[in-house]
Amino acid sequence: MIDTIYVEAAITGHPRALSIIHRFPKARVIECTSYQEVFNRRQQNFRVQKTHPALILAHKSKPRLHPVPEGQHLGATHNYYFSHLLNCPFDCRYCFLQGMFASANYVLFVNYEDFVTEIADVCATHSGPVHLFSGYDCDSLALEPLSNFAAHFVAALAEIDNAVLELRTKSTQIRSLLKTSPNPGTIVAMSLAPESVAANLEHGAPPLGERLRAMRRVQDHGFKVGLRFDPIIPISDAASVFRHFFAQVFAEINSSSVHSVTLGGFRLPKAFAKRMVRLYPNEALFAGPRDELNGTLIYRGDVGDNTVAIARNELARYISADKILLQHSVDQPEIPPQDAHPQ
């Protein structure tokens, strides 16, 4: 429940801001000059704020689209990401946002129309498909009842011929999608992990079964779906765990109509990892064996095992190799830049 809303003075009259504020009549509304004076200031504790996040309503100025780092896409030539929202209501212990942002408050940029205009402009400069990732700095759907992000963007980007929008989520907030006509320019991608990983590390996120049922409904409705197994957390007995896990996934999801599947090892920019250890000094996840490569820590599983390779082998029972995209693993040394790992 949101009980504190910061709003930039310049957008206090914005209809989307007013509508959101109206949803929380008991919230204290605090005017600020720029979201950055609340969100980016020093001496904040991400872990403490996560217990009681505030909402910050802001205007996003240019540039709103950013090129996707090498190795973080689905094979298209033109790839961009954008963030209508910073942060996420779930509390996944491995999430790099804990190390990237000073604050756990949600920042919602309400000027959706400016995003769409900029996307249209960028797409006009390319002849082929342009992939647009919306879930790098947030969960694309988790705050949908509040943001109406998917409802707005799926319809708006359907008007742009070469735009392909990826909504990446762990949430089951699919109501607005089910009310929308599916179009070939939208991929609804679900982040999934074995139940033991989800139960231990994905605090507040829906359980695996609920996510799979939501994905099935989206798939049945006609949307393209993607499966995101990233990060693969190094675990003991990986072969057995992933065999069972993928059996669960593909008992619910029709593998023949899956758009794409991505896998990635558990890796963190060293500076982010340092901050995350400071927040959670007693978290064993960050204490295990790891390698360092170009400023990134790559966490390994059991000695001699490569959990990503094991998962990939098990996944190959269900999905053809050409649909499986490795984002990064120990045996794939290309490292993405530090500021843009997908959840």
Binding site: I30, C32, E37, V38, T51, H52, R93, A284, P289
Partner: protein, 278 residues
């Protein structure tokens, strides 16, 4: 490491009911400021103004152990154009009238009263504009406290004492004490809530003791930092929770020790079931 709750007040009449309610005693060792305390609670009578408030915060931070976790609460009277006299309010934004600097306390737990913007003045002011509270301490208090604590643990709680210049003239020590006293239990309860939040979310890392290793080999400052990190990781992933005594027999230097311990850690997988800290 322990949590200290620090109450910063400007006037003795504001302090009196808090000293009673928190059952505090005068700290005889304090110099330059009147400090009261008990266990993990401190109260400083800072004097009027933002510089005095800043000095009080600095005094406590400088005289307590460096690893203490501090909660800072500034309590006092404030003016407001319309709020009923005697009502309690908490600041959600603090503006330094002289410099324009703006601070935002963060609410990480439920608060005991409504919140308002608070403007801090360098001199007494009775031109109460808008729906803001007015005081003379909050900006110095917050700016200094935020050097020692994160913003979730720094709050200004005010009791509305006056709606006009005429009201200020009528304030006496007794009236001020009575106004603060009405809310002392509420302040105490809020302080306890913040302490609970700090204890549960700012807990220090567990680690194996380093004394035996530091006594046996000479570690540089950098190596000691590496050793502390190894000790933390070791305590988390090694089930035995002890240093491998036998293995040290082959170590001839501090570098050997770090290298050996690192190598052991790199051979130790994490057990997910033990990583359920939330």
């Amino acid at each position: 490491m322990h949590t200290l709750t620090n109450l910063i007040v400007a006037l003795p009449s504001e302090a009196a009911p808090l000293i009673d309610n928190f059952r505090l005693s005068r700290c005889t060792k304090a110099r330059g400021l009147k400090v009261y305390g008990r266990d993990n609670i401190r109260l400083v009578i800072a004097g009027v103004g933002k510089i005095a408030a800043a000095a009080a915060v600095g005094y406590i931070a400088g005289t307590e152990p460096a690893d203490a976790r501090h909660i800072w609460i500034n309590i006092g009277i404030a003016g407001h154009a319309t709020l009923p006299k005697g009502s309690l309010a908490i600041a959600h934004r603090i503006i330094d009238r002289a410099t324009g600097a703006t601070f935002y306390p963060a609410f990480a737990c439920p608060v005991p009263c409504d919140s308002y913007s608070l403007t801090c003045h360098d001199a007494p002011n009775t031109a109460y504009a808008d729906a803001e509270m007015h005081d003379m301490e909050s900006s110095g208090f917050f700016a200094t406290a935020s050097r020692f604590s994160s913003v979730e643990f720094i709050h200004s709680i005010k009791v509305i004492s006056d709606n006009s210049a005429r009201d200020i003239g009528l304030l006496t020590r007794e009236i001020i004490s009575e106004m603060i006293g009405v809310h002392a239990a509420t302040v105490k309860s809020f302080a306890a809530r913040l302490e609970c939040l700090a204890d549960s979310h700012l807990a220090p890392g567990i680690a194996l003791p380093l004394e035996a290793l530091l006594a046996r080999w000479h570690f540089t400052a950098t190596q000691q930092s590496q050793l502390r990190d190894i000790a933390r990781r070791w305590a988390l992933v090694r089930a035995d929770h002890e240093w491998p005594g036998d293995a040290f027999a082959r170590c001839k230097s501090s570098r050997d020790v770090i290298s050996h311990l690192n190598a052991e850690l790199e051979q130790t997988p994490i057990q997910l079931s033990s990583s359920a800290e939330s």
